[in-house]
Subunit: 253 residues, 2 copies
DNA sequence: CTGGGTGGTTGCATTAGCTGCAATGCTCAT
DNA sequence: ATGAGCATTGCAGCTAATGCAACCACCCAG
């Protein structure tokens, strides 16, 4: 809608790939260097980009701080956190909380496993949307047309041999997940890692977030992990209850 | 420099305070509603803001994901992390890593205490710059004129009775910190929390980051915490060595 | 069910301000 | 010294952002 802003914002993902100098930014943007310079300067004034000693630009500290505040504003996170911690204390494995927003699923909270072998993931990181148990739960709850539109757009990368291979399989899996009210990811993303996940619902029954417990094969087998399902679902339901019970909720997600 | 971009970016911190509707955004920006609408739409297209069900806007998922990538690009963080974990395993307390950038100091990594009583802090959150031990180390290393300029601009909030009260005391403290090569915060931010911190230096000797160990009084006294100083300094030096040894470093901070 | 209020959205004429060019300055390597 | 490479600045032209006003959709009160 606004060309200037559009261009300026396009710089950010570009810099997220790594530092770049003025010329590179101008090229990738398809504008004159002087234009890129002015955009970068404006971004700089707002702390969104930083100019390192070699003159190259990279993403700035204010961006990180803003994202931090953004997450603190998500009240589902505040409510869920103590429950996630408690669950972690009970089972010892990594616990994740994720939300869906505009074609992306991302982790917004995480409690680390107590076992030495830990899986890689980070708060704020977009989730492998076609295979992650939490993603399936969140997408399964979308209105039919949105789900179809999204599944059309997606790639179906074969992270492992058990990854969801294509749209058809994906939609089928989502139907199953919606039906049963929980989801798993058995080695679909990382060969040796399994997850079980359960949905967190708002007062209207819509899924507002999803939580999962993940553990590598070397710690527990998939079957053993599945025995935690009732506990995970109970925790999710507790969070749902507390979330929808709050009449003063200021930021419905 | 660019008015349009400037306005658009000003929306972000505004939304960080909490969701707002079109009218509020337009007012705070001092522009017509239609202008605000177009800016918000552009931000929306880039996923920087999200429109929740009640039509109000809040910060979006892409912002969080970008910030995530920004942090992953900081290679000091990658190098330091395992050292921080090891230190945490040795002492059990909360370990922080922080960097300075454009008048702000922020935590870029954290390993949680193993004790039940934990301090509040979050990765990405700006640090209390006048009192935090890591902040003192980072500022103490700035060139004289920058340090003075910054110390002029700062507020000196009295978080507790032991907070740094004013510029004079602050500069004096920075001189001492620079001299001794380490820093403490003894209840200057939170009454009952103490920290010891040490600098991480690049190949040129400049301080590129700082790390600290923090613990509440109820767990260890300040004196006990100080006995960890040699260990903290050694860890920081190890990280310094590894960081400056890397000839292939692509992102000097 | 109706009228008015609230808040979001759209089309358009005006002109602010963004753009690209070309010239200049700076740094560094040869 | 010299020139190549990159950042920066001033400026004229015109694109594209702006504010206005009209319009729409929704909600509540009468």
């Amino acid at each position: 809608m606004s060309q200037t802003v559009d261009r300026a914002l396009s710089i950010l993902p570009l810099l997220a790939e790594g530092p770049a100098d003025l010329g590179q930014v101008a090229d990738r943007l398809g504008v004159h260097k002087s234009t890129a310079l002015r955009l970068l300067r404006t971004l700089h004034e707002h702390g969104m980009v930083y100019r390192q000693s070699d003159q190259r630009y990279r993403l700035g500290a204010r961006l990180i701080a803003l994202a931090q505040e953004a997450m603190e504003n998500l009240d589902i996170r505040e409510i869920a956190h103590p429950h996630l911690v408690r669950l972690n204390e009970q089972c010892g494995h990594t616990v994740h909380l994720a939300v869906y927003e505009e074609d992306e699923v991302l982790y917004i909270d995480k409690v680390e496993s107590r076992y030495p072998v830990r899986m890689y993931s980070r708060i704020g990181k977009p989730v492998a949307i076609t295979v992650a148990a939490v993603a399936k739960l969140l997408l399964a709850d979308l209105p039919e047309h949105e789900r179809r539109a999204l599944s059309d757009k997606l790639d179906y990368p074969m992270y492992t041999s058990r990854s969801t291979p294509n749209q058809e399989a994906f939609l089928k899996e989502l139907a199953k997940v919606r039906e049963q009210g929980w989801a798993t990811d058995l080695g679909g993303h990382e060969e040796s890692i399994n997850c079980v996940a359960a949905p967190i619902r708002g007062a209207d029954g819509r899924v507002v977030a999803a939580m999962s417990v993940s553990a590598p094969n070397v710690v527990v087998t998939a079957d053993e992990l599945l025995t935690l399902l009732p506990l995970v679902r109970r925790t999710a339901d507790d969070i749902s209850g507390e979330y929808s019970g709050r009449t003063s909720a200021k930021n419905p997600v």
